[in-house]
Point group: C2
């Protein structure tokens, strides 16, 4: 191996071996972890960080930095070694010694909300590369808006076989190739090994040919030849298309017995093998000890982008002050001042002129009101634009090589869409909202979970939210999806009942900046159940009394979304029968259950009979109606028929609800 760092006497190999040694040491000390990838990919990472990455440890979150995404998140020690060696504040040698321990900055897989310098949370394979596509797209979109003076960087990914086997990566590769995201460079750690053994047990894909089929450029290099790697990256940076560089490597490079085998992947080497590896690598130093000159060479790499950052800051400084303030607001992700007013104005208009529309249509109305005051809002759909009602009148689609728009045709790639949205949110400067049918959140769930875990404020616009979609049938009808997301931490699930609640839920979703939201919206038209507008957001506690009882309530009816009008009709029947009944609209059950006990108790009320109606499963509702509460909803999958027939068939009607309440009240 040759010396690639001409400014210091330290060789490439020494720098790379520092990464290998730290990875071995940390995994050994933790008695847990993955040494194979850091040892195999150390040469690639060293070339990237020492010669190419525009990066400055003085501000690892500098907006115009190059991004580096470790898609193969199990190789986290590679990343932690790089962050430590380059000198990112906080990532000390003690943190490396605490690898995989509670409260350390070095968790088992990279978590961007824990460790400075980590760009995104990875580990579930395929997520990193798919998220990086969103970052690279956001970079091009912002560059189109602000120019290369302010936005001009690359997104690098280190990906494994496993990343490329996962379907989501193929969705994302196809999208990136189609859009010609030429600032995206994927370094493929082509080590031919997976957990079960040689990759040949399960795969024989020609990855170069496959990405070329998706409009990428592919390059093959020896992943232990630093000159070849560096030259390939240099070429990739001039490409007009995204580039995958397949770097042939040996997993566990240096380990005398385990190198090139699956034994190197996911467990400590053990004292003897580690000793052999360090001897083979000519690394005579004690565990966690890095010779000063090697550390200094790495720290120099960590300042590669310092001048570029200073120049960028100088250019920012020359912006007109309001333009600068707006640019900085966008990068910070602060909600624009005009949002609340725009929503209130829409609500007041709706209170004056009620709209009897599907909530997907109401969502479009809200978006027409919001987009003019929120230029960062980046809408899109996984090829259901006319059904999701996501394309506002002014929305301009992004096209291959033309990134001036704010609308993304993601294609039939729900998972790739959600992951790209994560990348857009992480990049900063844009706020992603993407759409499909609610039932197809199943396809996107791993990326939605990353959004919830990482606290990314994406908005998932999920229309056709129940059997109310009708004829398409049970494959397209969610029944368990509300329940399945209400149980997920840190995601808000909204199911508004009419146009006013839809506007309020959009406001709540956008004002939330520490986690994602789902808007579950109807296909079918609904009455406007809410009569009042005003600045107060009644959905903010997750539930509120939308119709009080006439007298002391004998029954409380709880409902969300399209079933609120059913509850109101049942109330009319019950009132008629002399059972004073109140109706509580529950636009967000999870938000409601997170309220303090006294708030919940007040809203739940004291009526002796409690019932809930929702065109979904009961699971989770016992927390509101009690274990013996009445539930009118679904206990099976749906069916194919016009939606009114389905509501009758499954007994989700005002009559059934009223009769159940009456039976209980009398019984």
């Amino acid at each position: 191996m040759t010396d690639q760092t001409s400014s210091t006497p330290v060789s490439h190999s020494q720098m790379a071996n520092a990464v290998r040694a730290l990875a071995m040491d940390a995994v050994e000390k933790a008695r847990s972890g993955h040494p194979g990838l850091p040892m195999g990919a150390a040469d690639i990472a060293t070339v990237l960080f020492a010669e190419h990455l525009k990066y400055d440890v003085a501000d690892p979150a500098w907006p115009d930095r190059d991004r580096f995404v470790l898609s193969a998140g199990h190789g986290s020690m590679l990343l932690y070694a790089l962050l430590h060696l380059t000198g990112v504040k906080g990532v000390t040698i003690d943190e490396l010694k605490n690898f995989r321990q509670l409260h350390s900055l070095t968790p088992g897989h990279p978590e961007n909300f824990v460790t400075p310098g980590v760009e995104t949370t990875t580990g579930p394979l395929g997520q990193g590369i798919a998220t990086a596509v969103g970052m690279a797209l956001a970079e091009r979109m912002l560059a189109a808006e602000y120019g290369a003076d302010l936005v001009d960087h690359h997104t690098f990914v280190l990906a494994s076989d496993g990343d490329l086997m996962e379907g989501v990566s193929q969705e994302s590769i196809a999208l990136a190739g189609h859009l010609r995201l030429n600032r995206l460079i994927v370094l493929f750690d082509d080590n031919g090994i997976s957990i079960d053994g040689p990759l040949s047990l399960a795969d024989s894909t020609d990855q170069i040919k496959r990405v070329e089929a998706s409009g990428w450029r592919g390059i093959r290099v020896d992943g232990h030849d630093p000159e070849a790697i560096s030259q390939a990256i240099a070429e990739a940076k001039t490409s007009d298309r995204p580039v995958l560089i397949a770097c042939k490597t040996t997993i566990g490079y240096g380990a005398p017995n385990r190198a090139g085998t699956s034994k190197a992947h996911g467990e400590p080497l053990g004292a003897e093998e580690m000793e052999g590896a360090k001897k083979a690598l000519d690394w005579p130093h004690a565990p966690f000890e890095i010779p000063q000159e090697i550390k200094q060479a790495w720290e120099a790499a960590g300042r590669r982008g310092a001048q570029a950052r200073a120049d960028w800051q100088a250019r920012i400084g020359k912006l007109e002050s309001s333009a600068r303030a707006e640019f900085e607001r966008r990068l910070k992700g602060t909600v624009p001042a005009g949002l609340a007013g725009a929503v209130t104005a829409l609500k007041d208009k709706l209170a004056a002129e009620p709209a009897k529309v599907a909530t997907r249509k109401a969502s479009e109305m809200a978006l027409e009101a919001i987009t003019p005051v929120m230029p960062e809002l980046t809408l899109g759909s996984a090829d259901l634009t006319p059904s999701n009602n996501t394309k506002t009148k002014a929305a301009v689609p992004v096209k291959p090589g033309d990134f001036a728009g704010r609308y993304i045709h993601y294609g039939i790639r729900e998972h790739g869409m959600a992951a790209a949205m994560n990348g857009i949110a992480l990049h900063g400067g844009l706020r992603p909202a993407g759409a499909t049918f609610f039932v197809f959140t199943d396809y996107a769930r791993p990326a939605i979970r990353i959004a919830a875990l990482s606290g990314l404020p994406s908005v998932f616009i999920m229309t056709h939210d129940s059997i109310g979609l009708g004829e398409d049938g049970p494959t397209h009808q969610p029944v368990e999806h509300l329940s399945a997301f209400r149980g997920m931490p840190n995601i808000s699930v909204f199911r508004p009942c009419d146009a006013i609640e839809t506007a309020e839920c959009w406001q709540l979703a956008l004002e939330r900046t520490d986690g994602p939201s789902i808007l579950a919206l109807t296909r079918q038209g609904l009455s406007q159940s809410r009569e009042t507008g005003g600045a107060d957001n009644l959905c903010a506690f997750g539930a509120y009394e939308i119709a009080p009882a006439k007298g002391e309530a004998q029954a409380s009816l709880f409902a969300s979304g399209s079933e609120v009008e059913i509850a109101l009709q049942a109330k009319a029947v019950l009132d008629e029968r002399g059972t004073p009944t109140r109706v509580v609209s529950v636009p967000s059950l999870d938000l409601f259950l997170a309220q303090p006990e006294e708030v919940r108790a007040r809203i739940i009320g004291k009526a002796p009979v409690r019932a809930a109606v929702e065109a979904g499963v009961r699971f989770g509702w016992d927390a509101v109606i009690g274990e013996d509460g009445i539930f009118v909803g679904m206990a099976s999958f749906g069916a194919s028929a016009p939606y009114k027939d389905l509501y009758q068939h499954f007994g989700i009607t005002p009559e059934k609800l009223a009769d159940a309440v009456t039976a209980r009240h009398n019984g």
Copy 2:
């Protein structure tokens, strides 16, 4: 267009136009549906059914038939028209007139559990092609076992752009190419149109090149040239690799204004456009009217395989009677007689010699006991074999072109695995059980949902089922997944607490033949909490009292899986404190909630304090413990640390549980 059906005077075009006309008529009458695909792909389907498909309407479920999977399920009227025209019993013209209506045999998307002749449930894109890979794999595996005399057929798929954009299809294509499943032939309806508009809005993939990169053969033809289509299929049948035939078609072929546009895709044509289409197609007949000679030509096609079926039956008839009975048992999917005994023997052994093991290890022990009596059990893992403990000692892996094994290295393709398992289950003759980490069910969820909806008895072996997996951290730690599946209809979620319960849950999962099961299993070692063996399966009601109170119970503790031993330890503390406490093990909450009220009431008991402990979210537990019950579990995502530290950190300990019960008991 030329006449391809030399045995009748009816032309290919007439036959294809019959399909087009029925599709137009049915969609028009339903005022809902997708005419574009049936009109565009009618030529392809006509060539396949009239000239190639080994198929006999006298028994559409004949085991050695060729399979035809309509992956583009929205084009369901293509399939229903074919089933009606060929003469499948039940699929009458009246059923076509009832397209998309309640209780019809013609739901919006194909449902194999509703309509005879439908091979699998499709609609969610990508599922059909991915399921077909499992069918094609099952065919090869059974052919390796039984020989070509008994098993020798093809699997055909009609797939759309949307199918190929979904990541799952790419996982499956890579798997099929790797294994060289040469009996799989995909007809790609290459119409260049998606819902948002021209496909060029979102995709520019070279599909032929992409499948070639995965080891397939690719062929391009004019999808309206029956001779070219037929020749391509004939070639494909002789291939040593799977084949994709890209058939260039015009969506909505024949419609004067909408053909070739997205307007043809998903809505009725309307009277005028339909009239124009029928004129252009030279189809002067009334709606739903098929001239007799055309119907007869189609019925002849429906008997193409009659002789082959008779020959096959003759060969079956020559089998030795016990071999025949076993073959037929396998095809029917009946559970083998030896299963219960094998499980009881294992339980008795464990009762005598308790095993302190992780339940993933217990699962391996169960599999070692079961596989000898259940030769159809087809195990596999998405590249986590050593962690999932799925490979029994005798298990032989399936290899490219060598299908004699019973173990499948699915690769890092959880979604492709679950869909392939659906195909294996649907094919018959094999019983699939596949594994990954429980958290990665998120990747496979759309296919698992199809299994639940279609009633397929797949077993999902999901290890590393909680924060108990430890150091890998929150990306790998399920907290909401138990909840997310318990809310899904028709899937059984098992979380056994020890080796004996694991054996019982395996038995329940395998004895269930009308739906899938999940086994959620620990990474970490557990005590053996159950002391008794015997033939009784105590897990069968989902919950049972595993430890009675000493005296009248003041507290009931409910727990599943790894938390049962925590509950038992808390009971010891509480007993010590003078609070007689019982413990209920809940290996399947969903099964328990499905019991009759009196069973539930008896098991829940009458102790004044109820508490549940589970290393997952509370969501759903209120149904057992009441809305004010005590819950000790997770209210957030997990963290990276050794698992014992995590249980302490998140307060899931006997002490916390006992203290909460004591506080309530005294309070």
